[in-house]
């Protein structure tokens, strides 16, 4: 009994450590005081109003979301093609392709970032939205490959052969048999790519043009450089919104998973 109380106290202590900073931001996002630590007795949505009228931050949000979605879409296509291609190649070719695919995962982000910056400079390719997009594809595609490969391994190889025997062309068999079978892997690869792209700072910083900012680079410049940035309070409101969105999506995902599990149980 004592042990049980002790164990849950420990868990809650660590949870408090993990959530205190975010909860503090959420509480202060509704307070009229512009500075954390000083308290105003007035509660309002002024920081949210500030956030939604700040053109610069709104631009960053738009850029971040668009970049994450488009880079992840390209990554998912590329990673799926790569996973299928390497899986059906000779073992030696598979090993080479798979090892090179792992390089961006194990490599330090700063090394990947400068290597891409060097490519831009040597090819005299100016840093544009295109270079930023490619960099995010490089950041995320290995994770799509590692999500899709296990699904290919689980698939019954005879299904594809049966499709061919029944007269489907290889391309048709690929789209109607292989792709639906590995769809869960493709979907989770895409989600993983989106989360990684949304989070990235270092690679973005080295491949973006100076005119474009993502949430990460904007927040870094506001907080790390100690500049007299007046929109820091608005970033509190943004953090609170992001936190709320994450909680809602996790709850929705879990409720859906529960419902699906129950349906399976009923059948």
């Amino acid at each position: 009994m004592v042990g049980k109380i002790f164990r849950s106290c420990y868990l809650w202590l660590i949870l408090i450590f993990l959530y205190a900073p975010v909860v503090l931001l959420v509480v202060y996002s509704f307070n009229a005081s512009n500075e954390i630590g000083s308290w105003s007795n007035e509660w309002n949505f002024s920081l949210y109003a500030m956030l939604f009228t700040d053109e610069k931050i709104l631009d960053c949000i738009k850029t971040t979301l668009l970049l994450a979605l488009s880079a992840s879409a390209i990554s998912t296509l590329l990673g799926t093609i790569g996973a299928i291609g390497m899986f059906y190649s000779k073992p030696r070719v598979f090993k080479i392709l798979n090892t090179v695919t792992q390089v961006p995962i194990v490599n330090a982000e700063i090394v990947t970032a400068i290597s891409l910056a060097l490519v831009c400079s040597i090819l005299l390719f100016p840093r544009t939205y295109a270079s930023l997009l490619i960099a995010h594809v490089v950041l995320t595609f290995p994770f799509v490959v590692t999500s899709v490969l296990p699904k290919l391994k689980q698939m019954d190889p005879n299904l594809y052969e049966a499709g061919l025997d029944l007269g489907a062309s290889p391309l048709k068999a690929l789209f109607t048999i292989v792709v639906p079978e590995i769809m869960p892997g493709i979907a989770s690869g895409f989600m993983l790519a989106v989360t990684l792209s949304l989070d990235d700072y270092i690679i973005t910083n080295f491949t973006k043009p100076s005119t474009i900012d993502t949430i990460s680079t904007y927040a870094y410049n506001a907080y790390a450089k100690n500049s007299a940035n007046t929109s820091i309070p608005a970033l509190r409101a943004l953090s609170a919104i992001i936190f709320a969105v994450i909680i809602i999506s996790v709850v929705v995902a879990n409720v859906n998973a529960d419902r699906r599990a129950k349906q399976r149980g009923n059948n």
Partner: protein, 274 residues
């Protein structure tokens, strides 16, 4: 059947291989070329010699490793009991708890670090913390805060799969709880611990967002050193930066080959929800 038909699936590897060559292999080769040349393009080892003979660089190496080892150690000490308790809680409650522990890692990394800065700032105002002078502590706290979920997950994954019969066998053979833990649970969970270490050690030496946000520009780690070289923008600085990157690269791939982790990295950076 056979060759002519299967051909189309294998062929998908070709455009993929071209992409890998252009955006993974070629950029890394450029780093190697830059590391061994100077601003005029002639072959030189000066970049490496300079790096290892400059006192300030050695200090950066020292600080990076000190930070990384301290952060990793604290993360392990906190995370292991968490994972252990979670793995022994009943299935449903355990998975809800686990979700609570890894949920913060989906909040934007920079904003999350900034939130910790705001908290420390508030504590400073209350008079229980000193954010201006304790820059090393700030950085360690920030790093532990950011990487703790990444430590909990791999250890939990190993512990939850642990065969309960082995533990029962241990107690049947007369071991008490402490002995069972030290002689069976701990050694069997070693792969999770190793995996957690590789998840935390590398980013703490290279990901400079935390040290920049919380270190009051007094904490320079290897990653920041490389970034500085590329921001100075003199003729030679990019070559110096490439040399440091190459040293880092050799170190990373050396440890990867040693631990044999190369082909079995799980998708834990994304949190395992998807």
């Amino acid at each position: 059947m056979g060759k002519a038909l299967k051909f189309s699936r294998k062929n998908l590897g070709i455009p993929y291989f071209l992409f890998l060559c252009l955006f993974v292999i070629f950029p890394l080769l450029l780093i190697v070329v830059y590391a061994f040349t100077d601003g005029n393009g002639s072959l030189t080892f000066a970049n490496f010699i300079d790096f290892f003979t400059k006192g300030s660089n050695i200090y950066v190496l020292f600080i990076s490793f000190a930070l990384a080892i301290l952060t990793t150690a604290i993360c392990l000490v906190i995370a292991y009991p968490v994972s252990y308790i979670l793995a022994r809680t009943n299935m449903k409650a355990g998975s809800v708890y686990l979700l609570l522990f890894i949920l913060p890692m989906w909040i934007n990394f920079v904003l999350r670090t900034a939130a910790m800065k705001e908290l420390l700032f508030a504590l400073d105002k209350l008079g229980v913390y000193n954010i201006t002078d304790w820059y090393f502590a700030n950085t360690v706290i920030g790093m532990v805060y950011d990487y703790l979920p990444f430590t909990i997950l791999p250890i939990y994954t190993v512990l939850i799969k642990l065969d309960k019969n082995v533990l029962e066998a241990s107690s049947d053979l007369g071991a008490n709880k402490v002995q069972t833990f030290l002689r069976t649970t701990l050694p069997l969970s070693l792969p999770g611990i190793v995996s957690a270490i590789t998840m935390v050690l590398l980013p703490t030496t290279t990901s400079y967002v935390i040290s920049d946000t919380l270190g009051n520009s007094k904490v320079t780690i290897i990653g920041k050193l490389i970034e500085n070289q590329f921001n100075i923008g003199t003729a030679d600085s990019w070559h110096t930066g490439s040399a440091i990157s190459l040293i880092l690269l050799c170190f990373i791939f050396g440890t990867m080959l040693l631990t044999g982790k190369f082909n079995e990295r799980p998708n834990q950076r994304g949190g395992g929800l998807w």
